[in-house]
Symmetry: C2
Subunit: 210 residues, 2 copies
């Protein structure tokens, strides 16, 4: 998605050097993908090994000064999530952003993730509904391929902020496939205002206007 598949991680005195997406080093990345010999290698690791690496990603990477550290986790409430919360607790994280799709099975997963956040004392920044409706590029009619409103309903019931719906958008998918900068290339697409509004709300929470 960020056009960084073939990049390598190097060592420096203060630890692993993350992979930089651009010359300006505006985005630094770390992923187990960069540590594999071949991109098709399966990471057949049980929990303890995964937990150790997650801990290392927090402590042994020379992140430098960051505005935001974003951890993209798999769905669920297992090893990866426990390890991430444990590793970041000393840094007083802003919280968890929960992303669901509209279907009941997905909302159910996120409901259990809310319980996980409560149990572990992690604040929930908000809920986002992804894949929320589709505007046909031929006739401009909007259909809900999946159901609709599950994310918003869950946010209301659980008393956490609902940050918005991101529609299915072929231009967004295309950008991610080709590693293009969606925000620069498609400011008039269907998903743009949704993503931009969600980002603005999170920025506002991070540095509230005085």
């Amino acid at each position: 998605m960020l056009n960084a598949q073939s990049k390598d991680v190097h060592q420096c005195d203060s630890g692993w050097v993350p992979v930089y997406v651009d010359q300006e080093k505006s985005i630094s990345l770390m992923s187990i993908g960069f540590l594999l010999e071949h991109p098709d290698d399966a990471v057949v690791w049980r929990g303890p090994k995964k937990n150790a690496l997650i801990k290392q990603f927090a402590s042994d990477v020379a992140w430098g000064d960051l505005d935001f550290l974003i951890v993209d986790t798999p769905p669920g409430t297992s090893d990866e999530h426990i390890a991430t919360v444990d590793a970041l607790r000393p840094f007083n994280p802003m919280g968890a952003l929960l992303v669901t799709t509209p279907q009941a099975v997905s909302v159910g997963d996120v409901r259990r993730e809310l319980t996980f956040c409560k149990k572990t004392g992690l604040r929930v920044i908000g809920i986002v509904e992804n894949m929320s409706g589709y505007v046909c590029p031929h006739c401009t009619e909007c259909t809900n391929i999946f159901s609709k409103g599950g994310g918003e309903e869950l946010a209301r019931l659980s008393g956490v902020p609902f940050l918005g719906c991101v529609p299915l958008d072929p231009l967004l998918s295309q950008s991610l496939e080709q590693g293009k900068d969606f925000v620069q290339e498609f400011p008039n697409s269907a998903a743009y205002p949704a993503i931009s509004s969600i980002a603005r709300q999170i920025l506002d929470m991070a540095s509230p206007r005085s």
Copy 2:
């Protein structure tokens, strides 16, 4: 999806009694969801506990005579997958059916799952591409919301059978949301011929015509 949310698992002399979807007991289910007190409970378990339960699901459930045992795993190649392959190896399983969506990130995951199957000696029954194109119900034009053909290409490159593409279909989503029998209710929908053909190919592999 199968309208079984509120059902309970009972004990009998030969182990746990699975949950039956219908009176005829044509489908038996077992899931950790049936063992939770509340449906919103998060299962905050590390690997070893999950592995032990997966083993129990294979050994301690009174499955009776089954035509097929289908294990629906999360994506990836971690604890759940190792535990499932280990638990079922004595029963000489038919193999793994790999499901991808068309995007490169999803195909990449499945490519690593192919490596996992090779490493663990598990046969690959075939690859299916899900969410493959969308026929607008208003104008009947087909668009590829995501890219297209990633599943077929991967099957070709890795020499495993490609079993077909399942399009995005609001009628299928609706059936799954409401726990309806899609095959009975919507035989004329877009996804029906795809699903039916995939099922037929797998049945043919399981009991080849003499």
